[in-house]
Symmetry: C2
Amino acid sequence: MTTTNHKFELASRPVGLPTRDNWHYAEAPVPEPADGEFLVKILYISLDPAMRGWMNEGKSYVPPVGIGEVMRALALGRVTASKNPAYAVGDTVTGPFGVQEYALSNGASVNKVPSVGIPLPVFLGTLGMTGMTAYFGLLEVGKPKAGDTVVVSSAAGAVGSVVGQIAKIKGCRVVGIAGSKEKCEYIVKELGFDKAIDYKTENVRKALHEACPKGMDVYFDNAGGEILEAALANLARGARIVICGAISQYNNTTPVKGPSNYLSLLVNRASMTGMVVFDYADRYREAAQEMAGWIAQGKLKTQEHVVDGIETFPESLLKLYNGENTGKLMLKVANP
Amino acid sequence: MTTTNHKFELASRPVGLPTRDNWHYAEAPVPEPADGEFLVKILYISLDPAMRGWMNEGKSYVPPVGIGEVMRALALGRVTASKNPAYAVGDTVTGPFGVQEYALSNGASVNKVPSVGIPLPVFLGTLGMTGMTAYFGLLEVGKPKAGDTVVVSSAAGAVGSVVGQIAKIKGCRVVGIAGSKEKCEYIVKELGFDKAIDYKTENVRKALHEACPKGMDVYFDNAGGEILEAALANLARGARIVICGAISQYNNTTPVKGPSNYLSLLVNRASMTGMVVFDYADRYREAAQEMAGWIAQGKLKTQEHVVDGIETFPESLLKLYNGENTGKLMLKVANP
């Protein structure tokens, strides 16, 4: 059995896109669980746009990762040693285990993964935090009604692809904004979106105007920046904008661009509301059950973009900000 | 009886602050009502920040005023001739009568002013559109609960002064942002606000942080620009921002400044919602009755800033944008 744990620690705070210099790839002995703890051998590590925010100093919805600390990450692994009666060797679990090969846990924010014939990576994606974000952000904040026009940005990403599919399940007309011809084809042909807009080649404001002649009732924003402005320019009366993220702005070296046409909220009696998925933790189980049902019925397709090797972490993370992933990006760290 | 009607027509669309050149001061014979119409002799004309927006080309919540048309304005007057059985000579009415001495109306958007011992100007202010805006914007969109911290900008203005007083009536802690020492004293000493911040001499972000150590639960924005950013930097979890206006931005010759820290909505699970008072038209009567009760009980103080003479309109309007008014600004056009 391996006795060395490899891990990525935050070495310095990035300015703009993180580089390898911002990380320290460290090794240490695999730790032993103390009473109440268990050891997890990590199989998959979730890479998420929010990680960039966790690297910044300053107050946010979670504290920043400290310099010298293991980078925060959600991950999936197997319990290989346990001094916690609630977790047995062999259990498969997800939790905030960090960018490393082995993690100790006391069970905080840990969920057991059931054996239900669904591939493990799905539990970090559609049935994990990104799926929960899509589910609660759309349904609880966006409040779509059948017949509504729902628009989502980063539509081929882990959250956006689920948002669009749930909106279809709820009887909405769905328009996705994505960053390549392939992604646009994917969301329309594979996922059943009604329409796709390629923000790299199209004038998004104009394209939205054509795609949503009556305006959009729900806009789920993962992008921020110019795409948010284009959306604000195309609201229907009473529209709900869900602020889930702003990936276009996370690596700015200049201040975030605020939407200069935010007064469209006034003209259209519209709202813009922020959401953080953790607020719905007591309902994750209910949502996962409903989504697992949709997956089983073929109504909800999942896609994972799996990169091999923990050592690729610094470069793999950048795929999110460069738009190189389709579906849920994650690292495979060990064989299940 | 006068047979000449003086009126201000929009001569050209302003860039930045409107100047006298943007207006044509015209005269014409006083018109005769046709069947279904009545003639109103105007006594008071309401001057409102929104007027600047009506002068711009382009779609908003109401169509722009056309070049050569009488400037849109709410006004209060007496019926002096009528061919409409619902309105009798001598009735006092408010309605969208325009910046002129006499107006024809068919009764659209007209309300009769009851004889209840309340001074007439109040029906263009606290019991008129600005009071309705404060009432519905605060209560229906801001949804304050007793004990909440409520912050309002343009706090000595027609809307802000009513927002703050209603919030006090509802048991909230109220902080007002205003633009002079005198206004700050007025809202605290006369209107009972808990605290005032002078945005011309204080760092608003820092002052809000001190005045609202737990963050603000409701922010009622009439200002936009840097004051909105300062507010976004001081939200409590679940805060509601009411977007009522953005007077700091209406005369921009550069694009509106969007709030660069709008992602504070995400961090704080907060919302920013636009409101237009017309949506509550079927409840104006109910609101006016409740507010008239508060006025009678001395809980709600009204203040009108009355300027004499229709011919002062171009310069009087600018008082709003220069922060020279305290309370509801209006023109007195004729003696009641």
